[in-house]
């Protein structure tokens, strides 16, 4: 199934990105600089941010702004990466239900929209945490990612998924390229489920809120003021909501002296034949 709405994957390291790029059949987007950005036909986009919350925040902002120029629809956002944990076994996945930024004590709560995932606290630290003091996933990007993603999406459409790479009995030193790849690949089904879920949610959102194309066409000849743009938008939405969009085509074929005249006629038509 092809989706109109996309999902953006933000990963810190090229090693984490590699299995995802392969699985989702993504290709490097040549136009995108300075970050490596990969895209695919299913609306999935991936950016490699670099390590740390500041890098994740900057890359997320960069991707959001780059995309705003390209499309206009809202996308889902997913930060994926490896993390350490006090209790969870190597290779297990954890969907963040609370993100705590250690440096500032700020907390973020991604809305829990998906069932069937192991969920837990994720603590974003500025240096690798080797003692795992709390029952949480320790990593370095989630809080930066989440704060930036909130500029482009709401709490339902931004999620963080971490795969456990180290714990008190398996130290950070054992992590190598092969190990990272295995960790990510081992969770690919869950990641795909999350991506599909986010894509579906973004679709629901865009279906409800994306502006009808006819709005641009109607407004193009009459130069509405900012206030009139809002009023015109609402009128067009009302036609759509009342299942009367076809009638808007008649207005496209007429000429109007002003935005005010166009809106008066749209309003009159709604009142006259709608009985609403």
């Amino acid at each position: 199934m092809t989706h109109r709405s996309g999902v953006n994957l933000v990963v810190a390291h090229a090693l984490e990105a590699k299995p995802l790029i392969g699985f989702f059949r993504l290709r490097r987007q040549l136009a995108a600089k300075p970050y490596p950005i990969y895209g695919g036909e299913e609306g999935i986009c991936l950016i490699v941010s670099g390590l740390g919350r500041q890098a994740a925040a900057a890359a997320t902002l960069h991707l959001g702004k780059w995309q705003a120029q390209q499309m206009g629809a809202v996308s889902g956002w997913l930060n994926i990466g490896i993390a350490g944990h006090q209790k969870l076994a190597i290779g297990e996945g954890i969907l963040a239900h609370k993100i705590i930024e250690r440096a500032s004590s700020s907390c973020f709560y991604p809305s829990q929209m998906f069932s069937g995932f192991h969920t837990g606290d994720v603590i974003s630290v500025d240096a690798p945490e080797l003692n795992y003091p709390e029952n949480a996933a320790y990593e370095m990007e989630a809080s930066g990612f989440y704060a930036s993603a909130m500029s482009f999406a709401n709490a339902e459409l931004a999620q963080v998924y971490k795969i456990i790479s180290d714990n008190p009995s398996n130290s950070v030193e054992k992590i190598d390229a092969r190990f990272v790849s295995d960790c990510m690949s081992g969770q690919i089904d869950q990641i795909q489920r999350l991506v599909s879920g986010l894509q579906e949610l973004a679709e629901v959102y865009n279906d409800a809120y994306q502006l009808p194309e006819v709005l641009m066409q109607l407004g193009s000849n009459v130069k509405p003021t900012v206030t009139q743009q809002f009023q015109l938008k609402r009128l067009v939405q009302r036609y759509h909501a009342l299942n009367r969009s076809d009638e808007l085509n008649d207005f496209l074929n007429k000429s109007f002296n002003s935005a005010r005249q166009l809106m008066a006629e749209l309003e009159l038509n709604l009142r006259q034949s709608g009985g609403q």
Partner: protein, 338 residues
């Protein structure tokens, strides 16, 4: 039932919270400082959240009992409301809660004892009788199996016979009430719209027949019951194209027949009607939330800060509906909501 349960640190170790959490061992339990961190944050979408709402267990501070809005109830006595819960498990498209809150999550304030003390205070200070409404910011019965609202608040009012508790609901969760001894100063007020309106706008709400059945059981068990025919939405897209307000009347006639077949009108505490109306700011928020909803694409007008749908011959239509209703009840039982 819930996508997650958020728990304020302050109530985390209370018996009420622990007993709720025990019922949901498999749902993520997430600690927070204050419920507002989740409930009042920006960048959340009520409509998306309604697909997977969470429960937030919190402590309510400040004024716990407030004067009821003018025209809210039946009685001329002093009227108050209290909200042990914010938001509703149902999803009526016309509901003002969608415009009032940013979040669709349910907040359950678990410091019932503080509510009880505040109610005691207000009753002591009131010279005569008083009425307390629950279910203004929620549906009190819908979550009763979890909240145990009835088991706490009905005994509270049994100690104050001069005060009445009215519980507004569309729920069929009446088991706790049926297990209790009815008290004369508690009224269960069930809301109804006609079948066509319910099917179109009352998502996740129990079917009309089930609601009538639940109310009938309560009445038979000796509870005082009331009927709220609200909100009335005349002539609409729920009927065939070109439908008139008279189609709405026909739908109400059928609803009244169905209700009074099972509910004995002679002992009904009160019956009310009320047009759809909503504060302007809430209405604007709802339009933004549901720009594609036909109901909100209608012509509206504003009266005293409230948005109403424009209706031809409004008072005539309302009177016709009341006339229908008076075929089943007497006028003393009736009031029209302002």
């Amino acid at each position: 039932m819930f996508s997650a349960i958020y728990i304020e640190e302050e109530v985390a170790n209370t018996a009420r919270v622990e007993s709720i959490l025990q019922k949901f061992p498999d749902i993520p339990q997430i600690r927070c400082e204050r419920y507002g961190e989740i409930f009042n944050r920006k960048a959340q979408n009520f409509r998306l959240q309604k697909r997977a709402p969470a429960l937030i267990l919190a402590k309510k501070y400040g004024k716990l009992v407030l004067p009821a809005p003018a025209g809210y109830g039946f009685d001329a006595s002093a009227s108050y409301y209290f909200s042990h819960m914010l938001n509703c498990v149902y999803d009526c498209r016309y509901c003002f809660l969608q415009g009032m809150y940013r979040s669709a999550n349910y907040v359950l304030f678990t410091n019932y004892e503080d509510f009880g003390a505040a109610i005691d205070d207000v009753i002591e200070q009131s010279a005569g009788s008083s009425v307390f409404y629950s279910g203004y910011d929620c549906d009190s019965l819908a979550l009763d199996p979890v909240s145990n609202f009835c088991r706490f608040f009905v005994p509270e009012f049994s100690r104050h016979p001069q005060a009445t508790l009215e519980v507004r609901t569309k729920s069929t969760q009446v088991r706790h009430l049926l297990e209790m001894q009815p008290i004369p100063n508690c009224v269960i007020a069930m809301s109804f719209t006609p079948e066509e309106a319910a099917a179109r706008w009352e998502h996740k709400v129990p079917a009309i027949g089930k609601r009538i059945e639940a109310l009938g059981k309560l009445q038979k068990a000796g509870w005082k019951v009331a009927l709220r025919f609200e909100p009335i939405i005349f002539g609409s897209e729920i009927f065939e194209a070109g439908a008139e307000a008279s189609d709405t009347l026909a739908a109400y006639r059928q609803l009244f027949i169905d209700v009074f077949e099972k509910i004995d009108p002679s002992t009904v505490h009160s019956v009310s009607t009320g047009l759809f109306r909503m504060p302007v700011s809430y209405y604007k928020n709802i339009v933004k939330l549901y720009p594609d909803e036909a109901l909100f694409a209608r012509q509206t007008e504003t009266r005293q800060g409230l948005v109403l749908f424009s209706i031809d011959r409004e008072s005539e239509q309302l009177e016709a509906l009341e006339k229908l209703l008076f075929g089943f009840i007497n006028r003393q039982q009736y009031y029209r909501c302002a």
